[in-house]
């Protein structure tokens, strides 16, 4: 599902965020991406989400080499991934329902379909009763769950999360991680960047460790 082949990313000014990274994440797998701040976790996720491009090497997602993707196909590729951020990235002038509905509206689903799928997604994250509320009235954990509902509403094969629990206390963090585990159990490939080592070691999943842009361990590349 995700294949990094000798990937380096150099930003302007010469600072190398990733150098010669190789790893392979299989379909249906779940992995955590760890490392100190500035180790290159976010850059790695950005390469997958096509927010940044690799300087050298190949990033292959679902069989597609991202080096050969032009600007105009980026939106269609992003529709295949659900992306979750530390700061939720919700639209605060729209209701929870409208926030979650956005990916479906972009893809062109009918109003009936949108309603059905948004309800299903909100139900999964346990927020169905909040659909008419505005995100600003919700707690941080609830807002993160709204953003997860938005990420999974069009059933992407791949979920990416950048420090999804960074702003949350341990109990809420665990709840959020359990949600990701549940999605992984139904076949979604999940890659989560996190430096919450105590939490992720409990979860017994593959851990990919970065340090200063280099891969330290790629975890159990068993498959």
């Amino acid at each position: 599902m995700i294949l990094f082949d000798q990937v380096s990313k150099r930003y302007q000014g010469g600072n190398e965020a990733l150098s010669q990274v190789n790893f392979h994440l299989h379909p249906g797998e779940m992995a955590f991406l760890t490392g100190h701040s500035g180790a290159g976790k976010s850059t790695l996720l950005k390469l997958i989400a096509l927010i940044e491009r690799a300087s050298t090497g190949n990033v292959i997602i679902g069989g597609k080499n991202l080096n050969r993707v032009n600007r105009h196909t980026i939106p269609y590729l992003r529709r295949n991934m659900g992306i979750i951020f530390q700061d939720y990235q919700l639209l605060y002038d729209r209701t929870v329902f409208d926030n979650v509905a956005l990916p479906l509206i972009i893809s062109g689903f009918s109003a009936r379909e949108v309603k059905k799928r948004v309800h299903a997604a909100l139900d999964k994250v346990g927020l169905l009763r909040f659909e008419k509320k505005y995100p600003i009235t919700l707690s941080g954990g609830e807002q993160q769950r709204v953003s997860i509902a938005r990420a999974v509403v069009n059933k992407p094969a791949l979920l990416l999360a950048d420090e999804p629990t960074g702003n949350l206390d341990p109990d809420l963090s665990r709840e959020i991680m359990d949600l990701f585990m549940a999605f992984n159990q139904v076949g979604v490939t999940v890659l989560i960047a996190s430096h919450d080592i105590p939490l992720i070691t409990q979860l017994n999943k593959r851990i990919i460790q970065l340090s200063h842009g280099k891969l330290l361990t790629a975890g159990n590349d068993s498959l």
Binding site: M1, G62, G63, M81, Q89, L102, A157
Partner: protein, 333 residues
């Protein structure tokens, strides 16, 4: 970590393509129009949420559009007016005194057959003298004259299809060649001057119109730029969850359209109000000249539609330019 030889693994993963929930084609096709309609009214809704600033911008556009539109209306009327004057053009042919009545009648007949002449009227010198004696108050003095000092007069009315100053000039030259004619008279110069002034006026409207159209583009462009700036985070989110450029662009384009429409409606209102204010004193002035020629009336339906169309077009164009320039700069970081 083993060094992955890209090829093998790539082909392995490609068998498990990213599969995503996709709406059917017919659904997408239908939804496309529904979304357009929704965004159409959604963008109007956004504008109505900030009525004061919306009206400020729309009024600025209205004034910018009203000025050339108003000038156009006045100029349009002026050239219609000059058309009316053309149709009452007349050329006086003063005949030589020795020319017989018969000869004059045959000249009159001949001239009436010219395609560029609509009508020829003969004013008999005896009748003219009698009228002069009756009306001028010089009756007795004129009686003292042995001969009738007045010549026979043919008044030539050019046909409507030949009323251009140049065509009339050609006709004049033609008429001068008739040897029984003593004098051909038409004060054509003032007509040529009027045309020249009207032409300057037309150029002026064109220049002012182009400048103000540019102004409209800049106003709409700047307004849309601010709107894009205000919704920067929303645009980033849209891009992250797979919104295409055209999807993100759409509400801004419709906003530009609405601004153009509102602006041109305000312009129509402004121009018509001004015309109503001007019309009364103009009618008064016109009556002082015993004429009902000078009346501007209201803006015609064609001019109004033209104004609406160009307003909407300029609004859309301004928005498109601004969106094209600024949307690219906003990318997720």
């Amino acid at each position: 970590m083993k060094n992955i030889s890209g090829k093998n693994n790539a082909s392995e993963t490609s068998s498990v393509q990213l599969r995503q929930l996709k709406p059917s084609f017919s659904s997408r096709f239908k939804e496309f129009f529904i979304r357009h309609l929704q965004v159409f009214f959604y963008s109007l809704g956004l504008l109505s949420r900030a009525p004061f600033s919306t009206m400020m911008t729309a009024s600025a556009l209205g004034i910018a559009l009203a000025l050339p539109a108003g000038l156009f209306v006045i100029l349009d009327h002026a050239s219609q007016l000059s058309g009316d004057i053309n149709s009452i053009n007349q050329i006086s042919l003063f005949m030589k005194k020795e020319v017989s009545k018969k000869a004059i009648e045959s000249i009159q007949k001949k001239l009436e057959n010219y395609p560029e002449i609509a009508q020829v009227k003969h004013i008999n010198r005896d009748a003219a003298l009698q009228e002069f004696q009756e009306n001028s108050g010089f009756g007795d003095a004129l009686k003292a004259l042995k001969d009738n000092p007045l010549p026979d007069l043919l008044i030539v009315y050019p046909s409507l299809t030949h009323s251009d100053p140049e065509q009339i000039n050609d006709l004049l030259i033609k008429l001068k060649t008739i040897k029984q004619v003593e004098l051909v008279q038409l004060d054509i110069q003032w007509l040529q001057r009027l045309y020249a002034i009207l032409q300057i006026g037309q150029r002026g409207v064109l220049i002012i119109g182009s400048l103000l159209a540019l102004g409209v583009l800049l106003i709409v462009g700047n307004t849309i730029r601010l709107a894009i700036e205000n919704r920067r985070s929303e645009i980033v989110v849209m891009k992250l969850i797979g919104g295409t450029d055209s999807f993100i662009r759409r509400p801004f384009l419709y906003t530009g359209f609405w601004y153009g429409l509102l602006g041109s409606l305000i312009a129509i209102l402004l121009v018509n109000t001004s015309l109503i204010i001007i019309n009364d004193p103009l009618a008064h002035l016109s009556s002082l000249y015993d004429s009902n020629l000078f009346s501007l009336g209201l803006m015609g339906i064609n001019t109004s539609l033209m104004l609406l169309f160009s307003g909407c077009f300029l609004g859309l164009l301004g928005a498109r330019i601004a969106v094209g320039k600024h949307l690219k700069e906003i990318e997720p970081k």
